[in-house]
């Protein structure tokens, strides 16, 4: 699946990274707590979140996240967009809630970057 497919499934608006929609994606992680994202997310995954501040972009950059999906119709702040453009990290915004966003992507073959915690780093 590509980021373009993700955009279609989620009827999402691409706010940053229109030139990167051909990037492949297989896995995702969803959280509003960035420390949990740092603890569990894997490189080349999607980050689904309801947060919109620049720290989401920083976290994505540190972890080599493929793209940020902002859920519940959330739109990033101006600083967030600026940083994402600078660091070349795509941001998509969908009106689906986090549960629906996760479910729709999972149904189309995107899996969690880990299934459950414990025993695995």
């Amino acid at each position: 699946m590509t980021l373009k497919d993700v955009q279609d499934i989620l009827e999402a608006e691409v706010l940053v990274g229109r030139d990167q929609l051909q990037k492949p994606v297989k896995t995702a992680f969803a959280a509003d707590l960035m420390s949990d994202v740092l603890a569990f997310a894997k490189p080349d995954s999607l980050l689904l979140t309801g947060l919109t501040n620049p720290q989401v972009v920083r976290t994505a950059d540190i972890l080599d996240i493929t793209a940020i999906i902002m859920v519940r119709g959330k739109k990033p702040s101006e600083e967030t967009v600026k940083l994402a453009e600078e660091l070349k990290i795509p941001i998509l915004s969908t009106r689906y809630i986090l549960f629906e966003t996760s479910g729709r992507l999972h149904a189309k073959g995107i899996t969690g970057c880990i299934e459950k915690v414990g025993g695995e780093i």
Binding site: D36, P54, R58
Partner: protein, 156 residues
């Protein structure tokens, strides 16, 4: 870290500067990438740097993050001028936090920072003096190079 040391650089971090939090970690990540450090080590160091930077921004007046790179390991040393940690053992517990609302709004402050720093480093040493500040030393080892120092790069 004596003879094999090949790089050292210190970065200033301003307390309370939430907008810039992560800037130093991004720079450190780029430096390590350019040096050709393996992806896994870069990632682990980037995560511990970022959590450290968030801690300095969240709690201290100011601080420094020092990056030291050798052939076998990467060391991150942080020093801050801040309130200090009265009970380090308690602070290390996942879920324990004294974070303000501003920190939580950024997606941090849930008591995971020190736990993540421990999880991603091979050695972590914290010293702290209440009213003075906190120092954290973290080492990420490149075991492949320690176990097989003369091994040529892997080719498939």
């Amino acid at each position: 870290m004596r003879e094999s040391q090949k790089f050292e650089k210190s970065f200033d971090v301003q307390g309370g500067s939430f907008q810039n939090a992560g800037n130093v970690s991004g720079q450190i990540k780029s430096i390590l990438k350019e040096m050709g450090v393996s992806t896994d080590i870069v990632r682990r160091v980037a995560i511990i740097c970022y959590e450290s930077e968030i801690n300095i921004v969240s709690y201290a007046k100011k601080g420094t993050i020092t990056l030291v790179v050798t052939d076998e390991a990467v060391k991150i040393e942080t020093k801050d001028e801040g309130p200090g940690i009265p009970d380090i053992e308690l602070a290390m517990k996942e879920g324990y936090s004294t974070a303000t609302a501003a920190v939580r709004e950024m997606g941090f402050g849930a008591g995971m920072g020190l736990a993540n720093m421990k999880k991603y480093s091979d050695h972590l040493i914290i010293t702290s003096e209440v009213g003075i500040g906190t120092c954290v030393t973290m080492i990420v080892m490149d075991f492949s190079k320690i176990l097989h120092p003369d091994l040529p790069p892997l080719t498939l």
